[in-house]
Amino acid sequence: MAEKTVISVNHLQKYFTVPEKTAGFSASLRSLVHRKYKTVKAVDDVTFSIREGEIVGFLGPNGAGKTTTLKMLTGILYPTNGTVDVLGHIPQKHEKVFQKQISLVMGQKNQLWWDLPATDAFLLNKEIYGISDATYNKAFAELTELLGVAPVLATPVRKLSLGQRMKCELIAALLHEPKILFLDEPTIGLDVATQKRVREFLIKINRERGTTIMLTSHYMEDVEAVSSRVIMINHGHKLYDGTIAKLMATYAKDKYLMVEFSKPVQSTRLAEVGEVVSSRETRATIAVPRKDHAKRAALLLTRFPVENLDIKEMKLEDVILEHFSK
C-alpha cells in the first residue's frame, strides 16, 4: 500500500458560540434584551494523518466531534484554529479541482431528488463532476450491479426503502471515482443484511479503486468489518489512534470463557476462576485476565463438570464502553 499522506490535520479546533437560555417565559423575555452565550468546544486540538488507500474508522459517542471533524475535512465548516490539508488542498477554499476528488455521504442528508428516480440524480452528478460518457456508463453499470439496485432505478426516491436509498446515495457519491470517500453514519437505520452488503461494498471499492475511506459510525461492526485503523474521539479530544489489533491488545485485558456444564453449577463457586459476567443453570460466561486465560481455563476444566468451553476475545464495543465512553 502506498505511503502517501492524503489527509493531514494539525491541532484542529472548532468552537461554536451557542445562546444559553433557562426555561420559562421570563427567561425568554430576559434573553430578548440580554442574551447569554456559551462556547462549545466541538473539536479541541485534534491531530492525525491518513495515508492513501487506508480505511479509517472514526469512533466516538454522540457529540464527540466526529461529524464536525468530517465537515472540516470536506470544507463545509471553517476551523476555529489549526490546519487541514486534504490531497494538498485546503478544503475551505472550495476549489473545483479538489471537490472533484472527494465525496461525502451523510446518513441523514441526501443528494437524491425525492420525487424523481435516482438515475436523474446520477445524471445530474455526471454534469456536476464533468464525467465523460464512457466513465459514467462504466461506473454506473459496475456500481448498480455491485449494490443490486438495478430493479429500483426507475422508481421515485420517495418510494424506496431506507436501504435502497442509501445504496443509491453511495452510487451517486462514487460515480466520479473520488480519491477519498467520507462517510458519516452510512449504515444508520439499515437492516443487518443491508449493513453487511454496504460494508462488503466499501471494502471492494477500497481494494479495487484504492479509494481512501474515512467513516464515522455508531456501529462497531461497521468499523471492525471494514477498517484496520480507528481514531477515537470524545469531548472533542483524540483519545486513541491506531490499529484495532493494538487497541484490543492494549485495552482488552480480559478474555471470556464461555462454558457449558453437564449439570447446574452455582455462580459463587465460579468466582475462583474469574469474574462471572453471566451465569444461568448450566451456562456461564467468565471474564479472566488475558495473560493467564489458559491456566484459568484449565482450572475450570479440572474442577467443574465442563461439557463445552469456548474462549472469546472481548468485543471492540466492550473495550470502548469500558475505556473511552466516560
Binding site: T74, I76, N110
Partner: protein
C-alpha cells in the same frame, strides 16, 4: 450544463404537482387585476393620470405580471432554509454553486407557471386590445429586452443576498418580506413610480428596487427618459450589489454551522 440539468429536473418535479401551479397563478393574477380596476376608478372620466392612460395602466400591470414570471425568482427563502437546516452541506462539497442551484430551481418553477399563465395573459391582452398600445422601434425593443435581463440579474442578486443573511439571522423571512414591500413601493410594482410622492421617487433613485421592474417596464411603455443612462445605472447597481453579496457570502461561510449529520 449542470444548471440546465437542474432546471430540467425541477420541471420534471414540478409537473407532478399540477394543482399548486394553477393556484399559484390565480394568486399572482389577483393583485394586478385589482390594481388595474383601482386605477380605472381613479381615472373616472379623465383620459389620464400623471401621463398614464387606461391603456398605459393595463399595459403597465400586464408587463409587471409578465415581468414577475420572467424577472423575479423568489428563492431567498430556499437559500435561508438550506443554511438554517444544514441542507447546504452536500452541495458545499461539490463543484456546484448552491445559490445558483436555488435560483435555477425557482426559475424552472416560474417557467412552468409562465407557460400556464401565457394563455391567460394572451386572453386578457386580447380583451383589452384596444387599450394596449406598444409601439417601439427595433432599438427600443432590444434595449427593453436588455433591461429586463439586467432587472432579472439584479433581482436574483438581491434575493441571493437576503438568503445568505441566514448565516447571521437564521430566519430571514422578515427581511424577505421587507424587501418585497420595498419592491412594491420603490420598485413600482404597486403603482408606477412616477405617480408616487416625489419623496418616494427621490429615495427610489438610490435603491436597487427601481431598476428591477420599473425601468424595464417604463422602457416597454416608451416612457423611459434616457434608456442608455438607465441601462448604465442597472449595470452599476448589479456590480455594487454583487460586490456586497460576495463579501457577505465569504464572511457567512466562516459562520456556517452545517447543522445535522
Amino acid at each position: 450544463m449542470k444548471y440546465w440539468r437542474t432546471f430540467l429536473l425541477t420541471i420534471q418535479t414540478e409537473l407532478q404537482y399540477r394543482a399548486n401551479l394553477v393556484l399559484w397563478i390565480i394568486e399572482g393574477a389577483i393583485a394586478p387585476v385589482v390594481m388595474v380596476l383601482a386605477w380605472f376608478v381613479v381615472l373616472g372620466n379623465r383620459s389620464e393620470v400623471g401621463g398614464y392612460t387606461r391603456g398605459d395602466f393595463i399595459t403597465y400591470y400586464l408587463a409587471v405580471t409578465f415581468g414577475w414570471y420572467v424577472v423575479a425568482g423568489t428563492f431567498s427563502q430556499m437559500i435561508g432554509r438550506a443554511i438554517k437546516m444544514g441542507e447546504m452541506n452536500i452541495t458545499l462539497v461539490k463543484p456546484y454553486n448552491v445559490v445558483l442551484e436555488k435560483m435555477v430551481r425557482e426559475q424552472a418553477w416560474k417557467f412552468i407557471s409562465l407557460l400556464i399563465a401565457l394563455p391567460i395573459l394572451a386572453v386578457v391582452t386580447y380583451m383589452f386590445r384596444s387599450y394596449v398600445t406598444v409601439s417601439l422601434s427595433g432599438v427600443q425593443i432590444f434595449m427593453t429586452m436588455v433591461s429586463f435581463a439586467l432587472g432579472a440579474i439584479l433581482f436574483a442578486i438581491i434575493e441571493a443576498t437576503i438568503g445568505i443573511l441566514a448565516f447571521w439571522f437564521v430566519e430571514i423571512w422578515p427581511i424577505a418580506d421587507t424587501s418585497m414591500a420595498c419592491m412594491n413601493v420603490f420598485g413600482g410594482m404597486l403603482a408606477p413610480l412616477t405617480l408616487m410622492p416625489i419623496f418616494f421617487q427621490r429615495v427610489a433613485a438610490y435603491l436597487p428596487f427601481k431598476y428591477v421592474f420599473f425601468v424595464p417596464v417604463s422602457m416597454l411603455l416608451g416612457k423611459g427618459d434616457n434608456a442608455s443612462f438607465e441601462l448604465g445605472l442597472q449595470v452599476i447597481f448589479i456590480v455594487v450589489c454583487f460586490g456586497i453579496y460576495s463579501l457577505i457570502w465569504r464572511a457567512g461561510l466562516k459562520r456556517y454551522e452545517g447543522i445535522g449529520g
